[in-house]
């Protein structure tokens, strides 16, 4: 049983408020055989400038330090790739640093940028991320991804990361899903929802109009996970610019407050030791005393069924920003849906539902922009951009894309980014005839989870309209 000290559980404090001034992203796709990655990074930064009616050179004049999220050097075969991008963006001689935390790289880059502004070191910082996974054949790509597992204890076993990951899905499936067909359907609904939302997003790489049956009949990757349960592998870039209050209002008249926190857990799932469940503000002591009774085998925490890193990032971020109950206090979320089942696990880790009851978030219709049962707006829509399953997973950019997407909703400008016919054309994608505006009406607060692999790193970002804060400064 491991325990945390009070000092470790201290609620993080920013020394001054930090604001998100603008965001941008490129097109995402499986491969860009005739585009260098810096071209996509420039697209992302240019989009961020456009969003606040500036030229890139005008926007760049505000930037003081840069935090670059790029995970897999070995995919791009370029060390110090950050220096290449920094130069191509024309940001020398500013200080810059590369951030690498697997799938959470985008969120971690933002974590660093926010701290730089909060501390007073910078008044304006750029967090920009990218990934390119198309420069090796797929089987070699699988090997390169498996290098993010332990090279001596895991990678030689099949050189396939999914195998190390899916054992957790199996355990959750059997213990909390009870191997029920109804739970299998709920998993599939996550895929149907997210791929369906991706149809409204010109940036998205994996839009599909599918049914629960399509997901359940798709080829098995590692039972119970099927092809349509899994996220995409992508190339692309996304960015966000954070500032102190004064600078933020110089760039835009509508900056958003940003809070962000991070958690971690063992690289090898094997090393997870038993502990008490750390509680979120909406949970009660002893609430989980009978968890093992209700779900036999579910008493080991986090075991293989929870992500401690996600829980800790939410613990820090909720307490930092005043969020008590995410479903009541937030208007939408962007979660790291690497797999349908891990998406459901995350609902529990971040307190949208108690442990063991994650499936209800989907089944109740709360997770939809429009609740399919009531035809009214869902309580807490999740992943209207399509998520990792429908939009993209260009590792270093993913967390930043999610933050950008939450921002578009709170800015009430989602349609401006996703609707224009010209953008669909420029991206070589056909706008669906039934294109629907997924703007979450009246969104004032949102959350984005950026998550690495089996749960080694997770960041939790909370954005709020500054006139709708929960906690006074």
């Amino acid at each position: 049983m491991i325990k945390f000290s009070d000092k470790q559980l201290k609620i993080p404090k920013l020394m001054r408020p930090v604001y998100l001034a603008t965001v941008g992203m490129s097109k995402f796709d499986r491969a860009f055989p005739e585009t260098r990655i810096e071209e996509l990074c420039i697209d992302a930064l240019t989009a961020a400038a456009d969003f606040v009616n500036m030229t890139p050179s005008e926007l760049k004049k505000y930037i003081h330090t840069c935090y670059y999220g790029h995970f897999a050097d070995h995919f791009g075969d370029q060390l110090l790739g950050e220096a290449v991008i920094h130069d191509r963006l024309g940001l020398d001689p500013l200080g810059n640093i590369g951030v690498k935390t697997g799938g959470a790289t985008g969120g971690s880059a933002m974590w660093e940028a926010v701290k730089a502004v909060a501390s007073g070191y910078s008044d304006c910082a750029l967090a920009l991320g990218w990934e390119r996974m198309d420069e090796v054949p797929t089987d070699e790509g699988n090997h390169l991804i498996s290098c993010a597992a332990d090279k001596d204890w895991e990678t030689p076993l099949g050189h396939i990361y999914t195998g190390y990951y899916a054992v957790m899905a199996q355990r959750y499936w059997k213990i909390f899903g009870k191997e029920e067909d109804s739970f299998r359907n709920t998993m599939a609904e996550v895929a149907v929802k997210n791929r369906g939302y991706a149809r409204m997003n010109p940036h998205a790489q994996g839009p599909m109009k599918i049914t629960v049956e399509d997901v359940i009949n798709s080829p098995i990757v590692a039972y119970p996970l099927r092809v349509l349960d899994c996220c995409l592998m992508s190339v692309g870039s996304a960015c966000g610019i954070v500032c102190d209050e004064k600078t933020a209002y110089e760039i835009t008249d509508k900056p958003l407050r940003i809070y962000i926190a991070a958690g971690s857990h063992t690289l090898r799932v094997a090393d997870r030791r038993d502990m008490k469940i750390p509680l979120l503000p909406n949970e009660k002591p002893n609430q989980y005393d009978d968890l093992g009774k209700r779900f036999p085998g579910g008493n080991r925490y986090p075991g293989f069924t929870g992500f401690l890193a996600a829980r800790m990032s939410a613990y820090y971020a909720y307490n930092m920003s005043g969020v008590v109950d995410p479903t009541e206090d937030l208007d939408l979320v962007e979660l790291h849906d690497a797999f349908t089942i891990s998406d459901i696990q995350t609902y529990e880790d971040i307190g949208i539902r108690p442990y063991g009851e994650g499936r209800d978030y989907i089944e109740s219709g709360d997770a939809y922009v429009i609740n399919p049962h009531t035809k009214k707006p869902g309580k807490l829509p999740s992943n209207p951009c399509g998520g990792l399953i429908g939009c993209m997973h260009a590792v270093g950019a993913t967390g930043l894309m999610q933050i950008a997407e939450i921002g578009y909703h709170i800015w009430n400008r989602w349609d401006e980014i996703h609707e224009p016919e010209e953008k669909w054309k420029a991206f070589g994608r056909e706008k669906p005839k039934d294109w629907t505006n997924l703007q979450v009406k009246g969104a004032k607060r949102g959350l984005a989870i950026s998550h690495a692999g089996v749960g080694s790193h997770v960041t939790c970002t909370i954005l709020m309209d500054p006139n709708n804060l929960i906690k006074e400064d």
Partner: protein
């Protein structure tokens, strides 16, 4: 094509230094990548073949023991440590709590008696360089409660199921000195059913 003996890289340590001999990389020319529709050059291939020289450090005893049919773990024996007595498999050189060097312990018999499947997954997928037969049956193995962790391995005889008793087997003939020298089979498997080179 497999490399000939002359094309392989070998390393010894002499006087505390690595002494490589043989071939550590083979040079191969790059090739242009053309867009067949436009006839224009888009890029080049960059072939590369390299051999890394990797030390196991304090974990070497674990990997060496596998080839001898022994499963080694480690235990914190620090009287002052709040998690004293915890046994680690995967083997940890140092206790994650007190950071004192752990004691090496042989858990072969414990594993033979108490190993059971905590979770598993069956997959037909693999990455480049995989040498396991497919489908691969990944299993996570729990031992008795002294062992506080859950080892990842593969099941090579029998079907995986949560809670099922499994037994370790070791590649004692021509070991690879990697984690691939340890695998598991279901209880009741006979010696003749084991894969080539493996013994109980």
């Amino acid at each position: 094509m497999p490399k000939t003996e002359e094309e392989k890289g070998f390393v010894d340590i002499v006087d505390s230094r690595y002494k490589p001999k043989g071939v550590f990389h083979i040079i191969e020319a790059n090739q242009p990548i053309y867009n067949k529709d436009t006839g224009k050059l888009a890029g080049v291939t960059n072939p590369r073949d390299m051999t890394y020289i990797h030390t196991y450090g304090g974990e070497a005893i674990f990997f060496e023991s596998l080839g001898k049919g022994r499963l080694m773990a480690s235990r914190c024996d620090n009287e002052k440590c709040e998690t004293k007595g915890s046994v680690y498999e995967p083997f940890r050189i140092f206790c994650p709590d007190c950071l004192r060097k752990n004691t090496v312990v042989d858990i072969t018999e414990k594993a033979q008696k108490t190993a059971k499947i905590h979770s598993f997954i069956i997959t037909h997928r693999s990455g480049a360089f995989n040498t396991l037969p497919k489908p691969i049956k990944f299993i996570n193995v729990e031992f008795d409660e002294e062992v506080v962790t859950i080892l990842m391995s593969v099941l090579v005889v029998g079907e995986p199921e949560m809670g099922k008793i499994v037994v370790p087997i070791f590649r004692t003939k021509s070991p690879t000195y990697t984690i691939m020298d340890l695998m598991f089979v279901v209880e009741g498997t006979t010696e003749s059913e084991l894969p080539e080179g493996f013994t109980f």
